[in-house]
């Protein structure tokens, strides 16, 4: 990381921490949503690196949310204990499914993902144990040393910690040899094979790390939502997650999903006065963005910043700015 990047990150962190004092309680509520959606986007973007589009996001998100909601409600378990239980469940169940899907390639993975997402929603909706389509009812708020997280800023900070943890872990993976192997798989399967990358194993690791954080995002969702309901974890929400990543910028596996989630979550909120037309306007806005910014919002900034830097002579040998379009 360069010095400028470190400073920019520091500023961003300060802004993120200061936000509860700067925005209205309503906006903060949307930001809390955005944190969840960002984590979902991070999982999608990370798995896209190994050339797999995942449409099972909502499934593992739901596993985390239901684990936390049911355990807290039915057994009075501490929120913090439900976190690892939800995450481990998502990883283990995921592992069983992916063991069949991943060796069979991208198309099978994609189909398994869709089916899993739909099946898990049905399961939570139709089995009484999970509370049916109305959900299991009011979930208690998490506590820490007998202090209950009830205010919006508290819940926001709780999410911020999760999100930052997710970013750090993904960043470490992306910048290690493991990340290099992931990139290799994503850019050329056959070449990756020929240099000895065990494609199935590396894809599996990537997807399971995603499952871990998806479940975490689910537990967090259960912590701030009044209740969890199957309708939230629809197949459509998995599609939305893909849009965050595309709108944010496909080549930015960390910042892209977060920017995309912010933009796409906030557009509908500012269209409340035109409620009936909101989905149409939102869709149109997304299409326009994709046409004029094929590399996403960050792709646009990318070009600008790099042109500016190169004019100022700041780009070193490694900063050749052009990326081939896909």
């Amino acid at each position: 990381m360069s010095k400028a990047q470190k400073i920019a990150l520091g500023v961003l962190l300060i802004v993120a921490v200061a936000l509860p004092w700067l925005v209205s309680s309503y906006t903060l509520q949307i930001l809390i949503q955005t944190i969840t959606f960002s984590m979902l986007g991070l999982a999608f973007a990370s798995t896209l690196k190994v050339g797999l589009p995942r449409f099972d996001i909502a499934a593992w998100w739901a596993v985390g949310a239901y684990t936390t909601a049911l355990l807290m409600k039915k057994t009075d378990m501490s929120f913090w204990l439900t976190l690892p239980i939800g995450a481990v469940t998502a990883v283990l169940v995921g592992w069983l499914i992916f063991m069949i899907a991943i060796p069979r390639g991208m198309m099978v993975f994609l189909l398994f993902g869709m089916v899993t997402a739909m099946a898990i929603q049905q399961l939570f909706g139709s089995v009484d144990f999970f509370g049916g389509w109305g959900g299991p009812g009011l979930v208690p708020r998490p506590t820490i040393f007998s202090h209950r997280f009830v205010s919006k800023p508290e819940l926001y900070y709780l999410g911020l910690v999760f999100l930052i943890l997710n970013i750090i872990v993904n960043y470490r993976f992306f910048n290690s040899k493991i990340g290099r192997a992931w990139n290799a798989i994503g850019s050329s399967l056959r070449l990756a094979d020929s240099i000895g990358v065990d494609v199935v194993r590396y894809r599996m690791a990537n997807v399971l790390i995603g499952n871990f954080f998806l479940a975490l995002a689910g537990s967090y969702f259960a912590a701030y939502s009044p209740t969890v309901m199957p309708a939230t974890f629809s197949f459509g929400s998995s599609i939305y997650v893909m849009m965050y990543v595309i709108v944010g910028g496909l080549f930015h596996s960390l910042a892209g999903p977060i920017i995309g989630a912010l933009v796409i979550t906030f557009i509908p909120e500012y269209l409340r006065m035109a409620r009936e037309y909101e989905p149409i306007i939102t869709s149109a806005a997304i299409i326009v963005m994709i046409i004029f910014m094929p590399m996403g919002i960050l792709g646009l900034i990318d070009g600008r910043v790099k042109r500016l830097l190169s004019r100022m002579g700041h780009v070193g040998a490694e900063g050749s700015p052009k990326r081939a379009a896909i």
């Binding site: 470490r172 493991i178 070449l191 020929s194 050749s320 081939a324």
Partner: protein, 254 residues
Amino acid sequence: MALLELDGVIRDFGRLRAVSQLDLSVEEGQIRSLIGPNGAGKTTVFNLITGTLPVSGGTIRFNGKDITGLQPHRIAEKGIARSFQQTFLFMQATVLENILTGFHMECRAGAIHEFLNTKKAKKTDEAARSRAMEIIGFMGLTQVMHERAGNLPHGYQRALGVSIALACNPKLLLLDEPVTGMNPTETTEMVDRIKKIRQRGITIIIVEHDMRVVMDISDRITVLNYGQKIAEGLPTEIRTNPKVVEAYLGREDN
């Protein structure tokens, strides 16, 4: 003992027999060329050796061990690397990053070390980097090492393909048309480098259409036609073999 032995290898695509009862034995330290008209099954043989395609029959032995049916990454681990006919590169990555990726099997510190970027991981990464620099120098890629692979001219891309294979530290290197599309200067340089790679003790099998190159660098040549071996021998023998001339030019009396 031969380093690589194919024994009665068969490959069918539906009803088409692409490789038929092929016996091939490559001695350690040799440069072996595999030639033949288009569609003779040369690239298929490479795909069978590297496990990209499963064989329909026969066995492949490498270094005395049966490698038939192993997955491609396992075969790579045994010491067989290849460059591709189409330019497969990590196009978005720089030349240096491409070669570093090639060190996937070597210079490993273990997943935990790599994730936490411990001293051990940094050390192995340093080692990979210095060896990558050595390959970059050897393959003449120094001026372009920070360029994106996708932006390179064709000649450099071919050289990069071979460099990635070299980073796997192979015992056997399979080169699929290494000089195709190169200008004469680039070709001469590539031929020189292939000879130098052999001097490092790496056995090489080449598929190539440029006959001057083939005659210049091969120790032995194997000729395929319609998936069958029709001749094998020294370059001088192959040049005058009537069967080979017929396969390439067609029979005179039809």
